[in-house]
């Protein structure tokens, strides 16, 4: 398990590359999350919204980020996770989550790291940007 002393500013979080986003995943995610916005399963709604078709739930991509983060730090150490949805993820996109340590801080006698994260597709187009903080022993 990683500890505060061993992590340095500039360190990279291990990257996570997900399988291509497909329609089955969006259906599963709609049911699991309860987000039945038709933008995520009806092509004509995606087109009407100017997206060119169905787009993935932003929260699914944030879920990928959450997965990458908790592959690296324990769930219980997570202090915060914040994202901005920059561009839509389309069917077939292959998302890779990356991260880089930007700061090391302490609060109330406990120490935590600040990490910037991004999710980008196979063309390196950034879909989601954000950051997380994690308490480390």
């Amino acid at each position: 398990m990683i500890d505060f002393a061993s992590v340095q500013v500039g360190d990279r979080m291990p990257a996570l590359t997900k399988p291509p986003v497909d329609q089955i995943q969006l259906v599963k995610y709609a049911g699991a999350s309860g987000d039945f916005n038709p933008l995520h399963y009806m092509d004509e709604v995606g087109k009407a919204a100017g997206q060119g078709g169905v787009i993935a739930h932003g929260m699914l991509i944030m879920g990928f980020i959450g997965q990458a983060v908790t592959d690296w730090v324990p769930n219980r150490s997570l202090k915060s996770l914040k994202v901005r949805f920059a561009r839509p993820t389309m069917l077939g996109d292959i998302i890779t989550v990356t991260g880089r340590v930007t700061d090391k801080k302490s609060q109330g006698g406990r120490e935590y790291i600040c990490v910037e994260v991004a999710a980008a597709d196979q063309r390196c187009e950034v879909k989601v940007t954000g950051s997380f903080e994690a308490w480390l022993p």
Partner: protein, 146 residues
């Protein structure tokens, strides 16, 4: 154009949601994140959790299945649901959320802004467990494209 700035400072109806093992598993599987802590109560207990735990973005399940659905929320806020995009999401983790927990959510409409090509609505929620402990805070930015 509907003036929604009057919504700022108002609250959505409070609601409660029981966290269940099966729903955690379904959500973890949809993301493709199959950590033992989400699936296996024995392994979760060994790691010091009360039961299988919720993945970091699980609050989306709580809000959609426990609170207003997307259509109902858009109607309540008089938003054009076809033009809604999720602009941003923030979570602050204050405690565990595990299967068996009953989470009560209070949501405040904390901001509304008119931008050139969109309206931005900010919603802040606090999540309390059955012992009254605050376990999570969230902020959601919803964009209504013009």
């Amino acid at each position: 154009m509907e003036d929604r700035s009057a919504l700022v400072g108002t609250r959505l109806p409070s609601y409660s949601f029981t966290v269940e093992r099966g729903k955690i598993k379904e959500f973890a599987a949809a993301i493709g994140d199959l950590k033992e802590g989400y699936l296996n109560p024995v392994k979760a207990a060994r790691a010091g959790y009360a039961d299988v735990i919720a993945p970091p973005t699980y609050a989306t399940v709580i809000s959609h299945w426990g609170g207003m659905g997307f259509h109902e929320l858009c109607d309540h806020l008089k938003l054009n649901r076809v033009m809604i995009l999720h602009g941003g999401q923030e979570f602050e983790y204050l405690g565990d959320i595990a299967a068996g927990d009953v989470i009560t959510v209070e949501t405040l409409l904390s901001g509304y802004a008119e931008k050139k090509n969109m309206h931005v609505l900010t919603m802040d929620s606090v999540y309390l467990n059955q012992r009254g402990e605050e376990v999570l805070r969230s902020r959601s930015l919803m964009l209504e494209m013009k």
